[in-house]
Symmetry: D2
């Protein structure tokens, strides 16, 4: 069985394992106050082109989302997000468990627009009984989205300008950020993102690390006391060095970008094979997640040798499915799959 | 600088690093549904002498405490704990952030008694306005405690019998459980603990793992839907295999016990040196944490070469401090320290 | 200005004011443990045809909804409700503030169906990653709905049967229950509702009382410790007698039904006038809320003399608006309005 | 049976009942946006000598405390309060249910000092691991306290100065404020309190109203969006006018002060009788709550004719008990009790 069902099927990039081994007996202080974290933070600040951003390392995505969102909202505020957004559908109500409603906006492809945000904001404030309604307090987007799609630079700028105008901090979930940064049509750099969001995170779990997400707080008003919240929400790793070592390795010589590019290239090879075969594509993805629409019989056939995720029925006899590549996907695995697609 | 300030100063036992390396490219399903977790769970069940307990792996202690406690209490209930308990003083209000009061009981040495629990229970229910007061809903203890002390088998049995009689689930925090199990005067085995608690956890972070705590749910009534809560609270590691691999290694050939014993033996060597020197001991600890009372001048002197934790002033010229050993402490470090103590 | 914008524009039925005056200096115990509450509870039990239901009095609707829902759900569960439901849109996130997601189901007229509940339940449990998704834990409906519509006996029975089968407690919000019970086409009695729900409440605030909602818990499993939650959530009135006195008066000689009928009859007179005038009706309401669709020019004209609520634009030149009658509406006010409608 | 067990045994001052009756059929907008509330707010602002304070009306004390505290604290902050404070012991964990720890300070008589607050603040910030500990975020005091004791003007000024210096908003719970203001040794006016706190409330429930507490927000930084939180926490009364009417009446011609004085005078008559009889006093109270220490036999004897509250055992044969007077207590009841005391 060759697995394509997610981008967290293996351990970590071998350079990370090697670094963990090499540093294993060095004694350091705990909770992220060690030299490895310091070094990793410097590298990330440098990539962001801004020495003033604040960097924190957390273990996983849900934890990061709930901690960041909790740190921003007042108790009666909610977070505007795509109805398909991870915080709305795939975190077992983690945001609500912190007291906040996810204010879901309709989305066809995982993205929301500045205009939607403005409309939701204005609908709230123009309602005479707005005190009876959850107040929009911030905006959550993902790059790439859960559907593999991307915000372009103009789109992100429009969103950020709108958010600034309306006083809504903009939070970008970058669980798969590397795969977005290296996608063919991408127009955004880390520097751009640091300029066009209030806070975002760089995903490690799905991009080469054993685990770990690097939160980058760009807006000075959001920096205060963030570590208290990390601790309270259970996200402060005792051996914080493990996060430092991993991000230090990923950002030492461009490893993060290189392995992301690898995944994207293999994903596009897969996409080309699906298209050649005449399959439709559920979403317009140039990133490591591909969503072809297959005849159900072909789905069954491929399941014999490959694992991948059922996404949704598109009609009586077809289904959209998801194939993920990652930093760890072997070219040979993709080639075997392509051959089997062609043979269907 | 030789560090004794905590038991999470290094990475992980080399066998764990090796196993992570060996398994790195094996593809597995996520979220703890992989064969490594399965194997580790079987080993833990076997050590508990009970195939029916339910085992879950989480990343860290605060996360584990808040997830377990949230899973047990009704909204208007609180958790009885020593005033010195980790959940009461060192988790930034994580339990309160889940909506529950920590009902603190006075404690001299980190332990509480069955009689204290009964008294708190009866005080609640005999108060005419008990609906206006937080209802005791469960009991939290640590083994060893934050002060290095231990519950004996009779004490734990008395506590558990009382808890059962009163309908209060008993939760044992075993962040340093290994160091308790291997302590000289210890009378409890894992099997005993599985029989005498409703739920407990076996600490990995402080006992040889990079990170990780193994929750063991003994009471069938507490097993339902626990994974939902792990996910919601941000504790479900995508690459759950990492936890499986570590606990599988720790419990494969008794490694967990062996490395715990190492730490306890070094700690007792330290204790003997303190006593020989004429220092008092703040707590009666036979585990990896030692709390000698030193003249402040000696504290200053030792600080030049060693890191350790200030605990509290005991009089105008003396302080209790904490030295920790761990699975990773080298005998030579302890010997150097002993020599320097003797030379004071 | 004659007001029709809501059903809480006046004080209370004069008999209630009189009773408050008469009993003013009688000394009673607090927090709802007084003879007036006892008497009111007996009357309500009697109307429900069930001496075993448990009755509690709370002050207002949002408070009641959040207290009841908090008392039922486990932390990782959410409440299924119409997207238009009061708990979803008009309580400033009160349910989320207690940690729970409102799982919104699409609704055209404020009602949801047993089939929708089943579908949501099955969608959850058939999803392979259901632990990552909020678990449906109960169902919330309103009778009448926020749109004035009604569940019939067969519909409620189907809903309750489905809920029982799926293990989802059914909670009926009866903020305007009287107006539903006395509506022309209504097929449900209080007794029916007590048999076909797990918990419901009888609204007083909008039906003759100064304030107050009577929660009726039918399912024995939901009765335990409910008063703790009332207190914790701030809903336990010190002078609980005030609630007892009001509900005692409302249910002494059928006053609750009589004044509800009055409001419904006036509402139907209004409806007839709207229909005679050729206006469409936004919802099929036989209760005290009427939702005619008016040309915007007519809306403006009527606003000169009457207050009522804008509901939504239905096209470029028309709007749905809401007129409410209540126990206190004077026939003369309705007649004046009808004349002005006819004159438009 | 003559009742002295609490100060909420009767309805409301007759002038309030009369006003409710008179205004009963006047139509007003809901949720506190009516002319009665406007008028009451103006009267309170005038009494506070400050037109810029913001006044809100809520229904009860627990609701008020949880709403105010929720509106001030960040998620990782707690509220400093006397261990005996109402929020710590008698609200079923309402503050914790909003996510915040009550940071209890020892207190002999219900009061805490500026020095205690400073010490707690400094202990937090000087602890190297303060991010692991709940951060003090505000201070809660009661005037009079739950023990009937009073802060003097110098004490309150010292507390407020300390709070300002440390950035900790000061919240004064005035559930029984009238009885404090009119106590013999009292040195504080409403104007003083408005100058020396960030937010406080004027209790109505225990001082002449059917129910209701008037929150006065003095610190401009705390005013924003407070109504959202009132609504979310279930405290926004639909017929807000009822609160307006009551406070308007209480503050129209000094009624609030007059009826408070009545209660205090009767309480002091009781105190004198206890002292004449040779009983000790548990607390030094000049307000409407009196805490004599009686031989248990006398307690039993008095129970035959009077209800009052057991407070605590003071030795094997004596108990402190609580007698409350109120705006409604009749002089004859106090005289009967005094006679019976003398006859013991």
């Amino acid at each position: 069985m060759i697995r394509f069902e997610s981008d967290y099927l293996e351990g970590a990039h071998p350079l990370i394992i090697k670094k963990l081994e090499e540093t294993n007996f060095i004694q350091t202080a705990g909770y992220g106050t060690d030299p490895f974290c310091d070094s990793a933070k410097e590298r990330i600040k440098s990539q962001c082109g801004n020495a003033d951003v604040k960097v924190h390392f957390l273990v996983g995505g849900t934890q990061t989302n709930l901690t960041v969102i909790s740190s921003i909202l007042r108790p009666y505020q909610g977070v505007l997000a795509a109805a398909t957004g991870h915080v709305n559908v795939h975190e077992t109500g983690a945001i609500e468990a912190c007291g906040h409603k996810v204010l879901a906006l309709p989305s066809e492809d995982g993205k929301i627009t500045a205009a939607q945000v403005r409309q939701a904001y204005e609908a709230h404030w123009s309602d005479g009984s707005h005190e009876h309604i959850v107040q929009p307090g911030m905006v959550y987007i993902s790059q790439p989205t859960e559907n593999g799609t991307l915000y372009g630079k103009e789109e992100l700028k429009a969103m950020y300008d709108t958010c600034k105008e309306l006083g809504l901090p903009l939070f970008l979930d970058g669980a798969r950020l590397g795969y977005g940064l290296m996608a063919g049509p991408n127009t955004l750099t880390l520097k751009d993102i640091a300029e066009l969001t209030d806070v975002f995170y760089i995903g490690g779990t799905k991009v080469g690390a054993l685990f770990g997400e690097a939160v980058v707080i760009c807006n000075p008003l959001l920096k205060k006391d963030f570590r208290y919240l990390i601790k309270q929400k259970g996200g402060m790793l005792a051996k914080g060095r493990l996060l430092g070592i991993q991000f230090d390795t990923l950002f030492e010589d461009g490893l993060y970008y290189e392995i992301s590019k690898h995944a994207d290239e293999l994903a596009m090879k897969l996409q080309e094979a699906f298209v050649r075969k005449g399959y439709g594509l559920r979403y317009d993805s140039y990133t490591n997640q591909q969503f072809p629409i297959l005849p159900d019989a072909h789905v069954e056939k491929l399941k014999e040798k490959y694992s991948f995720e059922f996404w949704e029925k598109t009609d009586d006899s077809h289904s959209a499915v998801r194939f993920c590549t990652s930093w760890a996907t072997e070219e040979s695995a993709v080639e075997a799959l392509i051959q089997d697609i062609e043979a269907l």
